[in-house]
């Protein structure tokens, strides 16, 4: 009986969505020519699609409610956490992945290596934002601003003074951190939702300034002919330097994972998570709220600044159009999809979200639509992300009191 009930409900949902999407999905007008195009097939698609989605949604809800009540869930969780913690379980997999990463440029074309480099860059960006959003619980919607700072730092210094990439890399990181502190300081007193919108505002201000301040940033036309990174003074062809950049990114990803991992299980990392969980209790534990927020904000920005430099070097061209709010949104959806606070989650999230649209051409048009939908769906059905964070366990030998 209950199934009939669900079918009926989903049917009405489908009717509702067919109504809702009618003008925008079905009608298309060319008001200059005065032609109206009716796309009835879209209505059918919407109807079928929303019917199925509604059923699936209901099914997931019921399953979740059941799982919440039964003990079964605990066991699944156990298996998953042992998969991530127990070396016997994950070492073989890890070895295989490392091998694949190492030989990737030899197995695939330069074009694909280049895409992989992009994905690796997003992993690092995701790891950086993960500190701010996932660990410290500060919703930063202007993260791309620090990315832009790094990119323009290298682009301008290279253009004017011929600064080398290797000097720009730490400089970009430093400048990112500096901007993080300068922008963070006034806004970190704000409550969560205000913080989100102010960081969004800051992000847009920086982009608009870059777009309009022609004397400084060369305006919308941007800066071209930025030097590619030079590796040990070797003369390299374009293809070789793409492959070299790939390996450099692999190193940076490993470095970032190592760093973030150390941070999150440290005294500072615990303070971040405590801050995310409960600000008032966190302060009552003697933790300086402002300082803790600021370190998270600045450290997150450091990574963005660094990747910004790499971005400028990789594309050899920067302009303000690369640093829109959508870029921040992409990085945020990586963190959200993977699992806030989880390093493995961010890596998986970045690979899925960046590679999927590249390899499945059908997806690429629907990329942003998909990203938006992911944020909603993950929040509603699985707020912990595909790979939730696993807390460290401690073993005690002493006999219990």
């Amino acid at each position: 009986m209950i199934i009939v009930d669900y079918l009926k409900k989903s049917f009405f949902v489908a009717i509702w969505f067919m109504f809702l999407t009618f003008p925008i999905m079905v009608i298309r007008v060319d008001s200059i020519e005065g032609i109206v195009e009716w796309r009835w097939q879209n209505m059918l698609l919407v109807g079928i699609g929303s019917f199925i989605l509604s059923l699936v949604g209901r099914y997931i809800r019921i399953k979740q409610e059941k799982a919440a009540r039964s003990v079964q869930k605990g066991r699944v969780q156990q298996l998953k956490s042992s998969l991530l913690i127990d070396p016997k379980m994950y070492l073989p997999g890890l070895a295989l992945i490392s091998l694949l990463v190492l030989v990737f440029p030899f197995l695939f074309s330069v074009y694909q290596t280049n895409i992989m480099t992009t994905a690796l860059m997003y992993i690092v960006l995701g790891l950086g934002l993960n500190i701010v959003v996932g660990l410290a619980g500060l919703l930063d919607l202007g993260y791309v601003a620090f990315y832009a700072v790094g990119a323009y730092c290298y682009a301008l210094l290279n253009h004017h003074f011929g600064l080398s990439f290797w000097l720009a890399l730490p400089l970009g990181a430093l400048l990112g951190a500096l901007f993080g502190i300068v922008l963070g300081f006034p806004v970190l007193r704000l409550r969560g939702d205000y913080l989100a919108i102010v960081t969004l505002g800051f992000g847009e201000i920086i982009r608009l300034v870059l777009e309009n301040w022609n004397e400084f940033s060369f305006g919308p036309s941007g800066i071209a002919n930025i030097d590619r990174p030079n590796f040990f003074g070797i003369d390299m062809s374009l293809n070789e330097s793409i492959i070299a950049l790939y390996y450099m990114m692999v190193c940076l990803v490993l470095f970032s994972i190592f760093m973030v991992n150390r941070l999150q299980s440290s005294r500072i990392g615990r303070a971040w998570i405590a801050l995310r969980e409960d600000e008032i209790a966190c302060q009552a534990m003697g933790i300086d709220k402002t300082k803790t927020k600021l370190t998270a904000f600045a450290l997150g920005a450091t990574w963005a600044g660094m990747v910004g430099v790499i971005f400028a070097a990789k594309t050899t061209f920067v302009n303000p159009a690369s640093f829109t709010f959508l870029e921040s949104a992409i990085i945020l959806s990586i963190v959200v999809l993977g699992g806030m606070g989880s390093i493995v989650g961010v890596v998986v999230g970045a690979l899925v979200l960046i590679l999927l649209p590249e390899y499945l051409r059908a997806f690429s048009d629907y990329r942003m639509l998909l990203f938006g939908a992911i944020m909603v769906i993950m929040m509603v059905f699985r707020p912990q992300g595909i790979i939730g964070n696993v807390r460290k366990s401690y073993l005690f030998q002493e006999k219990k009191g």
Binding site: T21, P23, S31, V187, I197, G201, A329, M379, V380
Partner: protein, 300 residues
């Protein structure tokens, strides 16, 4: 002087539109404490619906008044329906979730709706028919204030008055105020809180649709991205006036409208959006409660 007046009236027009959108932000914030990032998109969808209906009716050869009324009606109905649906899908399941979750969900919704319109329609600017007629009696002043500007201001005023009456005197308005004060208590008194929240979204969306229709007709073109910028600016206005406060939202909108108008007129139009964002940042840092808002003491 004439230039000043022209800027004054264009600021008034901007302010009116911001006010229509800002009310939706402020009402929703007042009732569930959420920044509805997707609200700007509701406004954009209102404008698109109006455009589509108006274009179809034009092709079919209706007269201008009928087109205006039908387009307005469709915009209001559809925006309300979208607002209602967005709340049901993206916010209602997250009522008791951590604070970050509904915010992220709202941003996702906003991005989704933008791209939905982009994909289903077009990424180009679409010409919007001038639905508001040019009045003859306005002709001598046309270089200072246009007919559509007058209509925008009058309609906005009318809508504000109606909304105030609704909230002050109707039983729905009372239920809304009660829910905003204390959801649990309202529930105990037999108020259907979910229904009231839905109604709030519907009213806010309807106002945004009116704004969308008016501004699109005034400016003459729209695209899928208009909601994002307008949304942030209207939100700025709501914060400026004190979020959660309805007169505050109106006041903030007019201040923002004039600031933008005079700043672009006398300083530089390149930085038009920077002014709004700067106001937003400054007000949140120095007076987060806004002009008419009250400071809230945190409960422990």
């Amino acid at each position: 002087m004439e230039y000043f007046l022209e800027l004054f009236f264009s600021g008034l027009t901007r302010g009116s539109i911001y006010a229509l959108i800002a009310l939706g932000y402020t009402m929703v914030y007042g009732i569930i404490g959420l920044i509805n990032f997707a609200h700007g998109e509701i406004y954009m969808i209102g404008a698109f619906t109006a455009l589509i209906v108006a274009s179809v009716l034009t092709v079919l050869g209706f007269n201008q008044l009928a087109i205006l009324l039908c387009a307005g009606f469709a915009a209001v109905v559809y925006s309300s329906a979208y607002g209602y649906t967005v709340e049901k899908i993206a916010y209602k399941p997250l009522r008791n979730a951590p604070r970050l979750s509904p915010l992220i969900s709202a941003i996702g919704m906003s991005i989704f709706l933008q791209n939905y319109v982009l994909l289903a329609q077009t990424s180009d600017f679409m010409p919007f028919p001038a639905l508001i007629p040019e009045f003859e009696f306005m002709e001598p002043y046309a270089h200072i204030v246009g007919s559509s500007e007058l209509v925008i201001f009058l309609v906005t005023t009318l809508v504000m008055v109606l909304l105030t009456l609704l909230i002050k005197f109707s039983s729905i308005g009372k239920a809304m105020r009660a829910t905003a004060q204390d959801k649990k208590m309202a529930m105990l008194l037999g108020i259907d809180v979910n229904k009231i929240i839905s109604i709030t979204f519907v009213i806010g969306s309807a106002l945004a649709a009116i704004g969308g229709l008016l501004i699109a007709s005034h400016i003459g073109q729209i695209n899928f991205y208009i909601g994002f910028i307008a949304g942030i600016k209207a939100f700025t206005a709501a914060v400026l006036g004190g979020i959660g406060s309805i007169p505050g939202a109106v006041l903030g909108s007019f201040i923002l409208g004039w600031t933008e108008s005079f700043a672009t007129g006398y300083i530089s139009s390149d930085y038009e959006d920077v002014f709004a964002f700067s106001i937003l940042v400054l007000i949140l840092i120095f007076k987060p409660a806004g002009l008419l808002g009250r400071d809230k003491t945190k409960k422990v």
